[in-house]
């Protein structure tokens, strides 16, 4: 379908798009439009992203010298704790689901909004309240427990603002649960006629699987933090071994949430990439149903691998064996996805616009991060490298190399749809390549430092690791520039960017059939679906040799 065709079928009455439908501050703060809430979230998490980024900039600067030169150990500990808490709960967890997910889920299934629009707005207010607690913890003097809040340190020994930080994370957990419930209900109840489960775009499946994890795992995080607060504030004996408590109990509860939380962060990223690669390769996604089952398998098995964080904690050797086995098993669906993305390029008509560059960057970094996960699933190797920079590198490859790259991929892909504007493409390409290079410069040396025995969370470190830290800090400077660039050219595009059409990339998917930006209720007609997603060519065919614009023209004739 092309713009002119649609316009010819349906002469539309003039009506404002969702951005111009009310322009007062109050119209934004009281909005229940999923698209506007997505924007509110986007602004919020951008602020948190740069707050967390500022904290780690100071940390990386400090690590230029093996014995420190800028700050005390206490400040160092508070800065990396703040970085972790902010980045995990206030950026990564809400990043793709609450911005792109919020914006796109109703559009992709042909619905006018999410199932519970007011709950949607409420979850944003919860995020703001939680963020206030956490930022207060920093302003009031900081918290030094690390993002993991391990007991008994957090509950009995740390004399920093553990309560405020834990309260912040506790509250933002409820925002997460509210979002999850909302997205599950939306996917079940609001699909347009003809939108069967196996016609859903993979991004919707990804958001659906993520929501399941959010709803099932986040309550356990709330429980574990509540217990820390109970012991710390009310003196209830829960983790204190001298009074019959068990400090290891906290680790079980914490990782029961926090391992699935890794999949909360990476499944949506997989969804984004699964939309972008077919579009720029002009190919159906390879093995659609396998992709769906792989995501559901990741969401399911993800609940049973938490013990691989605890191989050296003193848990029973049998438990370690079971967790090790399941950790290898969960790598299988991830491998399937990587193979399928690769196979989707086969016989394509591949072009390399910025979203595609970011998406291919995701595949590369996610593959590297995933392979390093195999080392951590092997007990003897994990014992050596756990709690070292090897682990730091591993999870940054997955969560920053993977999720953040995909977040930028999605932001560039749907930016014309969200804002109705085009951004300067050559700047975007440059930023994508710079981000990939800067990321590897920052985190590749950390694998070496970790294997050679540099523990994480070290303010001072043995001098032989200095070279790796200097390389890493230099890379972080490049990465910081790559993260700042989009802030400028995307903001610029809001004012000076060219107008974007309905479907600038020639993509399939319902969101591209409505105007850019979409009207308040998304569609001017009732969408109906009669085909599978990624209908870039006939079943069993490949992209063909004609340029894609001509193919589309042929289809519509």
């Amino acid at each position: 379908m092309t713009d002119s065709l649609l316009a010819g079928e349906l002469p539309l009455p003039p009506r404002p798009d969702y951005l111009r439908h009310g322009s007062t501050v109050w119209s934004w703060l009281s909005t229940t439009d999923h698209k506007r809430i997505a924007i509110l979230y986007a602004v919020t998490i951008t602020i948190f992203f740069f707050l967390g980024g500022a904290a780690i900039t100071a940390v990386r600067l400090e690590l230029f010298q093996p014995n420190g030169w800028l700050m005390t150990s206490d400040s160092y500990n508070k800065l990396f704790s703040f970085h972790g808490i902010i980045m995990v709960w206030f950026f990564l967890v809400p990043s793709i689901p609450n911005t792109l997910g919020n914006f796109l889920l109703p559009l992709m299934i042909g619905a006018p909004d999410v199932a519970f629009p007011r709950l949607n707005l409420f979850s944003w207010y919860l995020t703001i309240a939680a963020g206030a607690f956490t930022v207060y913890a920093l302003v009031a003097g900081g918290v030094d427990t690390g993002w993991t809040f391990y007991t008994p340190y957090s509950s009995m020994f740390s004399n920093t603002h553990v309560f405020a930080a834990a309260a912040g994370v506790f509250v933002v957990g409820f925002a997460s649960i509210a979002t999850g419930v909302n997205f599950i209900a939306t996917t079940h109840m609001l699909r347009a006629p003809g939108m069967t489960w196996f016609r859903l775009p993979l991004f919707v499946w990804a958001i659906y699987a993520t929501s399941l994890i959010m709803v099932l795992a986040t309550p356990v995080l709330a429980i574990s933090l509540l217990l820390v607060i109970a012991e710390r504030v009310f003196g209830l004996p829960i983790f204190d071994p001298a009074r019959g408590g068990d400090p290891i109990l906290f680790q079980h509860l914490f990782w029961f949430y926090s391992h699935p939380a890794v999949y909360i962060m990476v499944l949506p990223a997989m969804g984004v990439v699964s939309e972008i690669i077919p579009c720029f390769a002009r190919r159906r996604i390879f093995g659609y149903d396998f992709m769906v089952y792989a995501m559901l398998a990741i969401a399911g098995i993800g609940f049973f691998v938490w013990g691989h964080h605890m191989f050296v904690s003193g848990q029973s050797p049998l438990a370690s064996l079971v967790f090790s086995f399941l950790s290898f098993i969960i790598a299988v669906p991830s491998a399937i996805k990587v193979f399928n993305w690769t196979a989707s390029l086969y016989r394509g008509q591949i072009s390399f616009e910025s979203p595609m560059l970011y998406a291919l960057g995701f595949v590369g970094l996610f593959t590297t991060g995933g392979l390093s996960g195999l080392f951590l699933a092997s007990i003897p190797v994990d014992v050596h490298v756990t709690d070292t920079y090897f682990v730091v590198a591993h999870f940054h490859y997955i969560m920053v190399g993977g999720s953040v790259s995909a977040f930028f991929a999605g932001m560039h892909f749907w930016w014309p749809k969200v804002t109705g504007r085009r951004y300067p493409e050559s700047w975007a390409k440059f930023a994508a390549i710079l981000m990939y290079a800067g990321f590897n410069m920052t985190f590749l040396p950390q694998f070496f430092a970790g294997y050679l025995g540099m523990p994480r969370r070290y303010h001072t470190y043995p001098a032989e690791f200095q070279i790796y830290n200097v390389m890493s800090s230099a890379g972080a400077a490049v990465l910081a520039i790559a993260y700042l660039l989009p802030l400028f050219y995307l903001t610029w595009s809001l004012f000076y960017g060219g107008k974007a059409g309905r479907n600038p990339f020639g993509a399939t998917g319902l969101e591209w059939t409505t105007s850019s930006p979409p009207p308040p209720k998304n569609f001017d007609w009732q969408p109906r679906i009669d085909r599978a997603p990624y209908d870039y060519h006939a079943e069993g065919m490949s992209a063909g040799t004609d340029p894609p614009e001509m193919q589309n023209a042929k289809e519509t004739q």
Binding site: D74, G245, L345, S542
Partner: protein, 313 residues
Amino acid sequence: MNSLFSLPEASTHAVTVDHIFYLLLALSGATVVLVFGLILLFAVRYRRGSKAKRGPMPEFLGREFEIGWTLATLLTFAFLFWWASSADLSSLAAPPHALEIHVVSKQWMWKTQHANGAREINALHVPLHEPVHLLMSSQDVIHSFYAPAFRVKQDVVPGRDTDIWFEASKTGTFPLLCAEYCGTNHSAMRGEIVVMQPEDYAKWLTRQPEGDDLAHEGAKLFVSQGCSGCHATSSNVHAPRLAGLYGRAVQLADGRTVTADDAYLRDSILQPKRDVVAGFEPIMPSFKGLLDDGEIQSLTAYIRSLGEEPPND
């Protein structure tokens, strides 16, 4: 010491770990070459507008193909699991008659104590080619005993005894690090492990300041803390006898049976009401707060030494 690009393999275990590491490295390398290679190949060959052949997808690229690579991945991972786990299982238990050394961790130092009573701070001397079994406890928060050159790491947890063992295979000085974040000076909680020839180790031990060995220190505490008032053979109080207790199965009043190991003895001293021995009244007071971790280790060592004598009744 460490060089820039390689880590010494200073224990028998280190060699095993590195073998697994190198296999994983080779496999990951092959996968990276395969995936990145294919992506690059397709990106060039099927770039938009290129003349490469497209047309219908080949027959073999179907469901069977997908099931095939899924199974291949699964089998590879199952093999990796089997290999890594069998290495883990074979190194699980310390060999009998390993040299026992006690480690107490606290914010922010390592205290070690040898069998003859010699004590060290942030240092540990061990003999070459002899299995060393470390019995560890923490006085405050969780720490982690990490010796990269030996490829061993074990959290040291308050309120519970953990252990770890290794057999050094190279003489020299190797770093000892705390790997679990433990507060302000976590990164300063470092020490060194000195591996010596066995005869040098023996000489070194005798040169250390005179100190009672753990069991003798425990015997003194046994009297001074009043344990002997009830538990000595001569006592009139109805309390369990301790000779020959260590390592034995103990029948409890609530019907459970436990093994009298370090953890059980420690619990019985600190929380005597928890595991009451069948046939005895729960009359023992708790010694929580009266004994520090080092003293509890001495007492357990004393009780263990009683176990080595033939039972006297």
